[in-house]
């Protein structure tokens, strides 16, 4: 099965449990199980290849130029983790089916679980580190959903939030580290990065990259001082805890450290950061675990401790330590998942997980007792179980490790950890299962059905078998996975067996087990001393930190965003000016290289009127109508200057847009106050004026500097000029750029325009649906109205002009490809032709004659443009490739026909529709009963009956 499919299966399958829950809980669980099983089988099919030492790959290039691809590979390490994830996932799915109660939404649970499983499989199979990062973040997100699964419990929500905050911020740090790493190696492919050990370790950025990546690993794997989230995540249902905290989520950090081991390990920095963190975490976790009364709390801290153990082994940087780390990953996953499940069974049956309220369960729950006993003894490091093997090897390795010149620091702390580890493992058994039977259990405990104990029973079978026949059962897997960790080369000598002779490790084990038993015997007084001792509460610190952060963020946001747009505007302009000033004062400007053009009198006149109009707008903007007329003057001058400066297309566009804009603003002004009161104090106006003048000087100065210098580099315009006719079949280069070279941009733009018009329509609908409608219907005009709303001269003139205007639009449209014109301008002209009818003959008269809805016109425009673009696919060309040819129909002159013209038709329709929809929406505000006439025209020359009243004429 392709690696793509293995990684994708959990995601694809995630839909089914949520859907099939309607068919019952069994259907939902089976769907989840089947998905996982398929992926698991697919993985196992690769086993022979992997065990023969080969690497399975699946490659998919997406954007090779940016190093973006979806490459997967499966080596020994990936195989080990994928087996754990999918195998234990399968057991968890079985267990959860019987663990979750009727009230729990099981479909959701399995969907979340599969999403999480897919993200984990993605992490361990990714070859590309960017892809890996995405899966990494996905595990944070999906574990958030899983931990907070019991939404009604505040602890669940808080625990989920804490886990997301800690692992998410670690993930952010890791993104930085990975990008640095990819930069040093010159590739984002793990297979390439892993070959560049020398380059990476020699780089000055090695340490920052290492720290950032380790931050990600440590937060994920709950290493000190980020260990605190894991116990709080225990608020999750037990299947989640068993899955996330034995085999998957927290092991992701370990996986990454193992994965990066060949390139990152072996330096003093690596040793001191990783090994020390692991050592401290191992000891601290073990000590705290002994004093937890909550069964899952105990297991949580023991998980922290064991993760520390593995981290420490990876941190040692020796090949042998890496082998032991891999071995312990397997062992820990088996016994810890079984322990979590048995804790869940106890909780499920006795309705409490408080050790103080338990005891004497061995007679009531013999099966659970057996499972818990074997798993706990393995965790304590008692032979012949698998925990003993790896713990023994670990202790042996610590004896040979020198930490900052000290031979005793590492083994000493490791011994402490082992001792406490034995103690809490014994406590798990003794205080829960031994002792007298009690009569105050919240619920009478008994063994659960086979569905619940089958999964942990299977796991403890593995615990025993690996313990007894380690070399046969786990040996090949350890060898192939460890081989992948140490990155080629010979594996060091090691032997997976119970009896190594009288080694220092054996003595340490004996001390640890004896000491652990003694410690448990003295548990009462020790516990009292522990509870009396002051110690920092991680959750309180975390909460205080979060609150401080939130206050800081709120302070900044409130300072910048107080709800006043003027302030945003001022901040934005001031910031832009500051940026410009920074660029100006730090960069250098070359001398002016272009000759300045002479000033002709007519442009000077235009400039003068523009300046006058603008100054007048600023001074007299309180009179809104006047300001609008002056804006029209500015627009006209701008159009004329476009025309003068060799941009006829722009001049035409600006001119027609100008008409539409002014009509639009007039329509709006109809309902708004006609005056702006002077209400800002002089000082504020002075300040705003100062900001404005600086902004104006900046932009004016910048464009002047730009215009008096030549292009710094050759422009791409030469290409457009050279290929416009040859490649696009048109001589109007601007139009060819719009409909051909940059057709995709134009396509996007007509869509945006259409959306803008639809937004206006929707807003109109929304506003008119409120009490505003009543206000509008009863509104009295605030200006004197003309006696004749639709003057006959104007009506007749516009009707005569309508066909003329449309013909002009058609003319402009057709000549667009070769001469100034095109879809945009033609669309605006056609829209204006219709607007004239609205203005002269009234809204009602025009709407009655409207055959096509403007929405449809916009839509058809976009669709025609899209269809033209898609047409290119049928000729095996990329989207929007245009074709053209020449047609000669006598007696017509030969003319050119390009598919670009069809595209331009789409542009034309979209523009017509958008402009008219916008204006029509605005005019609907003006509708009042009685404004429409029952006759075709207000002034109907053909009407033979008498007018009903004077007003109507």
């Amino acid at each position: 099965m392709s690696l793509f499919l293995i990684a994708a299966l959990p995601f694809l399958g995630a839909v089914f449990p949520a859907l099939l829950i309607r068919a019952g809980r069994n259907a939902s669980a089976s769907a989840a199980g089947l998905t996982t099983f398929l992926a698991f089988v697919g993985l196992l099919l690769h086993a022979p290849t992997v065990f023969s030492g080969e690497v399975v790959t699946a490659r998919f290039d997406w954007l090779p130029g940016l190093g973006l691809n979806a490459n997967f590979f499966l080596d020994g390490l990936g195989f080990l983790f994928a087996t754990l994830i999918l195998g234990i996932g399968l057991l968890i799915i079985l267990y959860a089916r019987f663990y979750l109660s009727r009230e729990d939404p099981m479909g959701q649970f399995y969907t979340y679980l599969l999403l999480f499983q897919g993200a984990m499989v993605g992490i361990v199979l990714s070859d590309n580190i960017l892809l890996l990062l995405i899966f990494w973040e996905l595990t944070s997100l999906s574990s958030f959903l899983l931990i907070g699964y019991w939404k009604h419990l505040p602890e669940g929500r808080q625990g989920a939030r804490m886990a997301l905050t800690v692992t998410g911020s670690g993930g952010l740090a890791m993104i930085g580290g990975m990008l640095i790493l990819g930069n040093i190696a010159g590739s984002y492919d793990l297979s390439v990065i892993l070959e560049n050990k020398e380059a990476i370790q020699a780089s000055p950025l090695y340490l920052p990259a290492l720290i950032l990546i380790l931050l990600g690993c440590f937060t994920k794997s709950a290493q000190f001082p980020f260990h605190f989230w894991l116990p709080h995540a225990m608020a999750a249902p037990t299947p989640v805890s068993a899955y996330l905290h034995s085999a998957t989520m927290v092991k992701a950090g370990l996986f990454l450290m193992a994965r990066m081991w060949p390139v990152l390990a072996g330096t003093p920095e690596w040793f001191y950061i990783v090994a020390t963190t692991g050592l401290v975490t191992m000891a601290l976790g073990a000590i705290i675990a002994l004093f937890k009364d909550d069964l899952k709390g105990l297991l949580a801290f023991s998980t922290v401790s064991h993760l520390g153990l593995i981290t420490m082994l990876l941190g040692f940087g020796t090949k042998l330590a890496a082998v032991i780390a891999v071995f312990h990953i397997i062992n820990h996953a088996t016994f810890k998942a079984a322990l979590f499940m048995s804790a869940g069974i106890v909780d499920h049956e006795a309705h409490t997980r408080d050790i103080k309220r338990l005891g004497g369960l061995r007679h009531l729950m013999p099966v659970t007792f057996t499972i818990a006993l074997v798993a706990a003894l393995s965790m304590a490091g008692i032979p012949p179980f698998n925990g003993f093997l790896s713990k023994e090897m670990m202790l042996e390795e610590t004896v040979h490790t020198v930490w900052a010149g000290s031979h005793y620091f590492v083994p000493g702390l490791a011994l402490v950890a082992a001792l406490f580890s034995a103690a809490y493992s014994f406590r798990f058994i003794v205080h829960v299962f031994f002792g007298p039977k009690r009569d105050d259990y919240p619920s009478t405990p008994h063994d659960p059905g086979v569905g619940m104990w089958l999964a942990p029973a299977f796991l403890i079978t593995l615990v025993i078998l690996i313990g007894l026949f380690s070399a046969k059962i786990a040996g090949p897997l350890v060898a192939v996975a460890a081989g992948a960790v140490i990155g080629g080369g010979e594996l060091p000598y090691y032997s997976l067996k119970l009896w190594h002779g009288f080694t220092p490790a054996l003595y340490m084990s004996i001390v640890a087990v004896t000491g652990g038993a003694l410690l448990l015997a003295a548990h009462g007084p020790v516990m009292r001393a522990w509870n009396a001792a002051p110690r920092p509460e991680a959750k309180a610190i975390f909460d205080a930190l979060m609150e401080a952060l939130a206050r800081l963020a709120k302070g900044i946001t409130d300072g910048l965003h107080n709800g006043a747009i003027t302030r945003y505007g001022a901040i934005m302009v001031a910031f832009t000016v500051a940026l410009g000033w920074y660029a100006y004062s730090t960069g250098d400007t070359g001398p002016a290289t272009r000759a300045v053009m002479a000033i002709d009198p007519i442009p000077a006149l235009g400039w003068l009127s523009l300046v006058l109009a603008t100054v007048l707008i600023v001074l007299r903007h309180h009179n809104r109508l006047l300001a609008l007329i002056l804006i029209g003057v500015v627009g006209l001058v701008v159009s004329m200057s476009f025309n003068y400066l060799s941009a006829p297309d722009l001049a035409l566009t600006q001119l027609s847009v100008e008409v539409v804009t002014i009509v639009l603003m007039l329509l709006a002004l109809n309902f708004m106050p006609k005056e702006t009161p002077i209400e800002t104090p002089a000082l504020t106006r002075l300040r705003d004026g100062a900001i404005a003048v600086v902004a104006g000087l900046g932009s004016g100065g910048l464009i002047y500097a730009l215009m008096t210098r030549d292009f710094a580099a050759p422009t791409i315009s030469e290409f457009h000029l050279a290929n416009s006719y040859k490649g696009g079949g048109g001589t109007n280069v601007v139009n060819v750029i719009l409909v051909d070279f940059r057709g995709f941009d134009t396509f996007g733009e007509i869509i945006v325009l259409g959306i803008a018009a639809l937004v206006i329509y929707a807003l109109t609908e929304a506003v008119l649906g409120t009490r505003v409608r009543a206000y509008l219907l009863n509104r009295k005009p605030d200006l004197p109205q003309a006696g004749d709303a639709h003057p006959m001269m104007m009506v007749v003139a516009t009707r005569v002009m309508m066909p003329l205007a449309l013909m002009v639009a058609a003319y402009i449209f057709f000549r667009g490809h070769n001469l100034p014109g095109g879809g945009f301008i033609a669309g605006l002209v056609a829209a204006i032709a219709v607007i004239m009818q609205y203005m002269a003959s009234g809204f009602s008269w025009t709407s009655e004659r409207q055959r096509f809805y403007y929405h449809g016109i916009i839509g058809s425009g976009v669709l025609i443009a899209a269809a033209t673009g898609i047409g290119a696919w049928f000729n095996d060309m990329p989207f929007l490739t245009s074709a053209f040819g020449y047609i000669h129909w006598p007696p017509l002159k030969e003319f050119e026909w390009a598919t670009a013209a069809l595209f331009d038709l789409g542009v034309f329709l979209a523009v017509v529709g958008a402009v008219l929809l916008a204006l029509e929406s605005l005019s609907r505000f003006a509708w009042q009963p009685g404004t429409s006439s029952e006759y075709a025209m207000d002034i109907n020359p053909a009407r033979d009956d008498e007018p009903k009243n004077e007003n109507e004429v």
Binding site: N562, A598, M672
Partner: protein, 119 residues
């Protein structure tokens, strides 16, 4: 000529920014229009100024052409800024009709936001 264009851009920007900082919707819309003009002319001018050299290919003789690319960009920018203006006008109108007030610094309960100085 360059000076005329540059000074016009500067003036339009300054006037636009000043109006955008006013406290009623209508002047802000006017300001946005002025800034749109300034930006469009600015973009257009990055292609450098030329007279009598429109980018319409001449089949019969070799002539100079001005830079067509900024023109194409500005052409769509003009149309899009119309769309933007229309939406803003609509929002302003809707807000005025709903609240019967066209101040822009209003909070939901009709109070004026605290801006440090009184509106």
């Amino acid at each position: 000529m360059e000076f005329l264009v540059a000074s016009a851009v500067g003036l339009l920007t300054a006037a636009g920014v000043y109006l955008i900082l006013r406290k009623r919707t209508f002047p802000v819309i006017l300001g946005l229009s002025l800034v749109s003009y300034a930006v469009n002319v600015f973009l257009f001018a990055t292609g450098r100024l030329m007279v009598n050299a429109p980018p319409i290919l001449n089949k019969y003789e070799e002539v100079a052409y001005t830079d067509p690319l900024p023109q194409a960009l500005v052409l769509t920018a003009i149309v899009i800024s119309f769309g933007m203006t229309a939406v803003v006008v609509m929002i302003a109108l809707g807000a005025f009709l709903s609240a019967r007030d066209d101040r822009i610094d209003m909070l939901e309960d009709g109070e004026t936001a605290k801006t440090g100085e009184d509106a």
